[in-house]
Every structure is written in structure tokens, then in C-alpha cells.
């Protein structure tokens, strides 16, 4: 564990209790609330929501760090692989397919179909990955740039199909539900979603950690990395699996939450030696902090309806992105 991990673990330890206390009903930590209400709010509403924020944020943060390391580009984002749009497509399909599912399965329909979408995206990427890695060894070129473009194509195809599903929505109610869901939120989530996402995200972060040393080698460029023993196909498959699990599980339980994967590694990098392997764990912790803080903030904002988390994070993320671009122009990155 490095210094950055320690800093963000401590921050998370401070944020978690604050988040549990904050909301429409402010819970005084040491007052006597009577047994029922406060305990119920904590155990059934706020704790699962906070844990889910941590899980989703950790996955997005780690995936962002790994993607930036892989593409050797500080502006890369886990969304580039097209896994989040594929998961969203699966989720949107569930609004159509919901009536076909047996009633007992109904609550699981959306997350399971979203995971299936993410899985389909991962499978397509893995197929392309096998080919591009082979090309690199045979000297045909392409490599990482080609693979990234393939990911972008998957993303735009999934985006188009999602838009199609929306325009063909069976009724206005379904339409507004889909659009609202796509904006990403952690409202009214329960331990069921935690049980779905937590193991997948934990597995995904573990897989990304296995790729860490290979990402370090890539710091010197693709050919130097291969000369250091990097196996391009293994690295790609680890990345596709790791990003797929973390991002796919995140979208399945929370909808699309952008910018976390892009922003978080930049918050972490100055506290580390800047090698990709040093970023993955602290980025997971920092991503957890960011999503937990943002979700607590949208909960206490005095608005008529709760601000959607995905919108709130984009509102913070977009200006930050602009600031990054300006800094990069001055050659400071």
C-alpha cells in the first residue's frame, strides 16, 4: 500500500460516517432517536446506498487508471472500450423484455441484462484483441490505436441502438423511465444491488491489478514493452475482463456515471511515482470517495427532486476536463 492509498483510505473512513448521517433526515449521531426509524434508515437505505457508491466508484476509478495506463494517455476513459454503452443497451433492452420475464425475476431483469450487454461487449473486444495482438507480432501495425478505434465503434453502435430503443419506447412512461435510468443514480438501491455488483467489481479490480506491471512496461512504448517480456494478448484480455467487470457491474446497478474514470487518476497521480501500477488501488479508493461524496451531496441539495448522480458528476467533470486540456496545452501534464 502506497502513500496515495493511505490518503484516500483515510478520506473514505471520514466520508462514510458523514454520508450515513446526511440526507433529507439528518441523523444526530449521539441523540436518542427511539429505536425504529433511525436504525431502519441507516440499515436499509443509507448503508446499502453508501456501500454501493463505494463499489461503483472503486470500479470506475480503477478502470480509469488502467485505461490511461494502457493507452498512455491522461485523457483516456473507461468509456472508450464501449463496455458502458453496451451495458446500457442491455439495460434498455430490459425495459422491453421485462413483461416476458417470470415475475420472480423481474427485479433482477435490468441488472442481469445490463451484465449480459457488458459481457457481449467484452466478447467482441476479446475477439478483436486476439487479432490485433497477433498483427503486432507479425509486423502489420495497428496495435493499440486500432483496438481503441474498434472499442469506439462498439460504443457508437451501442449508442445508436440505445437511441433507437428509446425512440421506439412502448409508452411515454417507459420512455421517461429509460431516460431517467440512463442518467445514473443510486437512489432507492438495496442490498440486492450490492450483492450483484460488489463481487464483480472486486474481481475486476483484482484482474486489473494483475495487469499492473505490464502497464508499467508500456510507459516506454509498445515495442520496448514487448522487449521487456510483455505479452500483448494477455494484457488486452486482462484489461477487457477487468474494465468489463468493473464498468459493466457499475452500469448494471447505477446506470451511466461518467467522468469518474477520467478524473480520478489525475487526483491520485501527484501523490504517487506516476507509474500505472501505483495508481490502480489508490484510484479505486479515490473513485469510491468521489462517488460517495457526490451521492451524499445530491441527497442533501435542497431541490424539489433529487439531482441525478450521473448528471451531477458530469457537471463537476466537464469543467475539470476543460481545465485538464488547458493545463496540457501548457505542457504541464
Amino acid at each position: 500500500m502506497n502513500r496515495a492509498s493511505l490518503v484516500f483510505a483515510l478520506l473514505l473512513a471520514v466520508l462514510l460516517p458523514l454520508s450515513l448521517l446526511a440526507g433529507r433526515v439528518w441523523i444526530e449521531p449521539f441523540a436518542d432517536h427511539g429505536p425504529a426509524n433511525a436504525a431502519l434508515i441507516l440499515a436499509e437505505l443509507r448503508l446499502p446506498r453508501a456501500v454501493l457508491a463505494i463499489v461503483v466508484g472503486a470500479g470506475l476509478g480503477a478502470a480509469g487508471a488502467a485505461m490511461q495506463g494502457y493507452l498512455r494517455n491522461p485523457l483516456a476513459d473507461p468509456g472508450l472500450f464501449g463496455i458502458a454503452p453496451m451495458a446500457a443497451l442491455g439495460a434498455v433492452a430490459s425495459f422491453w423484455l421485462a413483461p416476458l420475464l417470470p415475475p420472480a425475476w423481474a427485479p433482477l431483469g435490468l441488472p442481469l441484462l445490463a451484465l449480459a450487454g457488458a459481457g457481449a461487449g467484452m466478447a467482441a473486444l476479446a475477439l478483436i484483441a486476439g487479432r490485433t495482438a497477433e498483427d503486432a507480432r507479425g509486423g502489420a501495425g495497428g496495435g493499440i490505436a486500432l483496438f481503441t478505434l474498434a472499442g469506439l465503434m462498439i460504443a457508437s453502435l451501442a449508442g445508436a441502438l440505445t437511441a433507437l430503443a428509446i425512440t421506439l419506447a412502448p409508452n411515454p412512461f417507459a420512455l421517461s423511465e429509460i431516460v431517467l435510468w440512463l442518467n445514473g443514480a443510486l437512489t432507492d438501491r438495496s442490498w440486492r444491488e450490492v450483492a450483484i455488483a460488489a463481487p464483480l467489481v472486486a474481481g475486476g479490480v483484482g484482474v486489473l491489478a494483475l495487469a499492473a506491471k505490464s502497464l508499467d512496461a508500456l510507459t516506454l512504448g509498445e515495442e520496448a514493452a514487448r522487449s521487456l517480456g510483455l505479452d500483448p494478448r494477455r494484457l488486452l484480455l486482462l484489461l477487457v475482463a477487468g474494465v468489463g467487470l468493473t464498468v459493466g457491474a457499475g452500469v448494471a446497478v447505477a446506470g451511466i456515471i461518467g467522468f469518474v474514470g477520467l478524473v480520478v487518476p489525475h487526483l491520485v497521480r501527484p501523490l504517487t511515482d506516476r507509474l500505472p501500477s501505483s495508481l490502480i488501488l489508490p484510484s479505486a479508493l479515490a473513485g469510491a470517495c468521489l462517488v460517495l461524496a457526490a451521492d451524499s451531496a445530491v441527497r442533501v441539495l435542497p431541490l424539489v427532486t433529487e439531482l441525478r448522480l450521473g448528471i451531477a458528476l458530469s457537471l463537476i467533470g466537464a469543467p475539470f476536463f476543460l481545465w485538464l486540456l488547458l493545463r496540457m496545452r501548457r505542457g504541464m501534464l
Binding site: 507480432r137 506491471k213 510507459t219 516506454l220 522487449s227 521487456l228 517480456g229
Partner: protein
Amino acid sequence: MLAAENLVLARGGARVVENLSAALAPGEITAIIGPNGAGKSSLLLALAGLLRPAAGRVALEGEDLAALAPRARAQALGYLPQAPEIAWDVAVENLVALGRLPWRDRGRPEIESAIAALGLDELRHRPASRLSGGERARVLLARVLAGTPRWILADEPLAALDLAHQIALLAHLRACAAAGQGVVVVLHDLALAMNHADRVLVLDAGTLVVDAAPEAALAPGLIAQVWGVAARWIGEPGARALLTAKGDAAPPGR
């Protein structure tokens, strides 16, 4: 012994090296030279095991490189790419330490001796973005040395360097060869190859034209034939300079 055996290389569908055989010995500096597009970099990549031959093979101590596990190959062959990049603003010490990746150890003694060999001790905490071109070249060579490879394969390591840094880097490579490592460099400067290499491979349009000691290999006739430039050497062996006359060049017919 690192040997190319009837090597044919193709990139993007085009054949760039044709039926090339050469057995390189450790303890020497071998220079690969030739005009632009002659296939020098492709040959070096194949010798490093990073470009799979379309036909023929590269053998390390008689063993086919393609059959070697990537890690075992990485431990034996150190490769320094042309115009190497450094993606993140990592400190010198950590960059050099990347050379230990094939060994999966911290390799402190090897890292320290590579830092010492290239005189990087005072720069060890400096981030890559604040290195000059000459410092960068030294750091990246130190990265290769930290992996203690049996062979060092460098693609135009002198290209971005001024005269003093060129001489200094060649001295480091000479020290590596003297210590028994094999050194293979792609060079553009004929005079540097003439004065510093033990052996010269001249490539022209993918074909090995000459494989000999520099004095024998780089005769004016060959320079005229391969580069299309009329030139002659002055000075004495080990301290040669190449004279070319303005207007004497016949543009290469390719």
C-alpha cells in the same frame, strides 16, 4: 551467438528483408547500416524477437527465438527503440528500474550499477520531463543495462545526440562489449560505424550486401553503389572521416 538464418521479413504485406543470414558474436559492436528504407530497423526488431519472420528464423545459442518464452527472451535480449517514448513523468530511478521487469525482482544492485555506469546518480530523482535529450538517451540505455541482457540491440541510439554525447554513449556500448555482452546498433553515420564498430552489416533494399570489418566493408565503391554518393575516406583506421563532394551525388534510383 545470435544468428539470422535465411531470414525473410515482411511488414504490412511488403517484404522488407530478403533471405538474410548472419551470425553475430558477443563481445563485439556490430553496426547495421544502409540507406533509409533498407530494412535496418526491421532486421533489428527481428533480432530482438519482436518481429516474427515470414520465413527463416533467428536463433539465440541455436534456439529459435520464436519458441522462447517472452520472459526468457526479455532476460537475454535488451532492445532500445528508435525515438523511445516515456509516457508518464516518472523519475529517473524508477525508469531505470523498469529494466528489471523481465526478472520480476527489485534488482537493486543491477539498477545501481546501471545508474552508476551512465553517471545518472545526481539525476536519480529528476522527472523525465526535465531531462535533456542527452540525459534521456543515457537514462533509456541505463534501463536496458539494468536488465543485464546478454545482447543489447539499439535502433539509432545516437540520432538525437550531439557529438560529445555520441562519443560518450559509444564508450558505454564499448564497455558493454568488453564485458562480453553482444552489442548491435543501427547507425546512419558511416563515419561512426567506421570508427567504432567491429563489424558492419550493410543493407540495401532488404538485401545484405556486405558483412565485414568496417575498413573492408565501407569501401568508396560500395558507398557509391549503395548510397549513390561519391565519397572517400581520409585519416587513419580508427580516426576516419568521410569526404563527400558537392554535386557528385547521383540520386538513388529507387
